[in-house]
Assembly symmetry: C2
Homo-oligomer: 211 residues x 2
DNA sequence: ATAAAAATCAAACAAACGTTTGATTTTTAT
DNA sequence: ATAAAAATCAAACGTTTGTTTGATTTTTAT
């Protein structure tokens, strides 16, 4: 007849709380006491489970890092039009960033701070491999004469930069889109708006005139 | 025959050190003792000059906030082609972000954290007014039939998002551009590359076929 | 049922934090 | 020259930090 915890999912609770609090306030600003209180566990359990506050953070990153690469790998081996591969990729990443914005705020801040090289490398390698696949889509389109010979790397940087800013500079994006509520920025409606914009943008940029 | 300080420019030194250290490690991670040591002043001078660590931060923001709006206002009243207004704007902002990347890292992180609403509002209002002027450039081009009727707000979000990511997710951008050294990412060469990419991207996106 | 193992907890730890104090030196003004 | 004001400093302040300890409860396995 316990309150909430069935068994050893206090560990899981800590990971969830960590994602939420780190996203909201940043790693340094969240104390172990806050984490323990929010997860309704004893202070010392953080060290007991994860070794340290830093260990908890790393575990959270690893456990939450989404498995999107398999989708991209399937796309890479598919026979569909390269442009369709890109539209599917765009749809996927808009959803991924918007719906998992708490997590993405955390990992983007880790990248920005560059304080913990292990985290930076972990995140970088993971994202770099995904971006390599996207690069393949564009190169394929270029070889087939379907895409223009644009700056592929910076085109991908623009895709991720647009999404990253929507998540990290929410207050600024909010005022630009004339949204009063900050969370309204991430509504289904705006998610569709971002998808449409990114497709229109990359379509104009990539597609050769003839097609 | 003093070492470095002529008089009361220890205050200025503190502001410079603050920008550098806050950009490198984040506000919370930098201690007053670090700041004082790096600026070669006594620990207590931070409170003496700025009231508190937070006061130093705010002063740094206010003193460093660049004056780019006047350039945009001049452009707005000029008679040149709307597309030229945009190319000038792009050149200006690429330089602004790349050369002043330490400062931009700090303010973008403040936006991302949303912990200190005063800072968020100060930064948001400043940037929003600049972006309003850019909106005007695009609207002008649209009214004159020179630009397509794209999603103006998200187009601007893409411009700033691309630059913001180059500054904040440097490690990721670095590995994508195959740059070994992180600071080499911000070379003159790559600055030109970003300018070219953004112009090509927005040109394809905005310009009507006929021109 | 019982003993070993794992999990949980309150309490205390040393270290680092931002800030304040009060004495001392330097500058300014008469 | 001298007294008031400003600037500087070492030292200590009270908190809060992440982590550890050692006792206690709960679980597991025999």
């Amino acid at each position: 007849m316990s309150d909430t915890c069935d068994k050893a999912d206090k560990r899981q609770k800590l990971l969830e709380v960590a994602e939420s609090l780190f996203a909201k306030h940043g790693f340094e600003a969240v104390s172990v006491r806050q984490l323990a209180a929010e997860a309704d566990v004893n202070l010392s359990m953080v060290s007991y489970y994860f070794g340290s506050k830093d260990g908890l953070f790393q575990e959270m990153i690893k456990s939450k890092f989404p498995q999107t690469r398999s989708v991209l790998e399937d796309l890479a081996q598919s026979d569909i039009h390269p442009w369709e591969k890109l539209t599917i990729t765009i749809d996927m990443y808009v959803d991924k960033f918007f719906l998992g914005r708490a997590f993405h705020r955390v990992i983007m801040r880790e990248m920005s701070l560059q304080q913990r090289p292990e985290h930076v490398n972990l995140i970088r390698e993971h994202m770099a491999r995904s971006q390599e696949l996207i690069r393949g889509f564009i190169h394929e389109g270029q070889k087939k004469g379907l895409f223009r010979y644009v700056d592929v790397e910076l085109t991908i940087a623009t895709l991720f930069g647009t999404l990253s800013s929507a998540i990290n500079q929410g207050a600024l994006t909010c005022s630009m889109l004339k949204e009063t509520n900050l969370e309204a920025l991430y509504s289904d409606q705006n998610r569709e708006r971002y998808k449409q914009h990114l497709k229109a943008l990359l379509h104009a940029h990539l597609m050769t005139a003839g097609v």
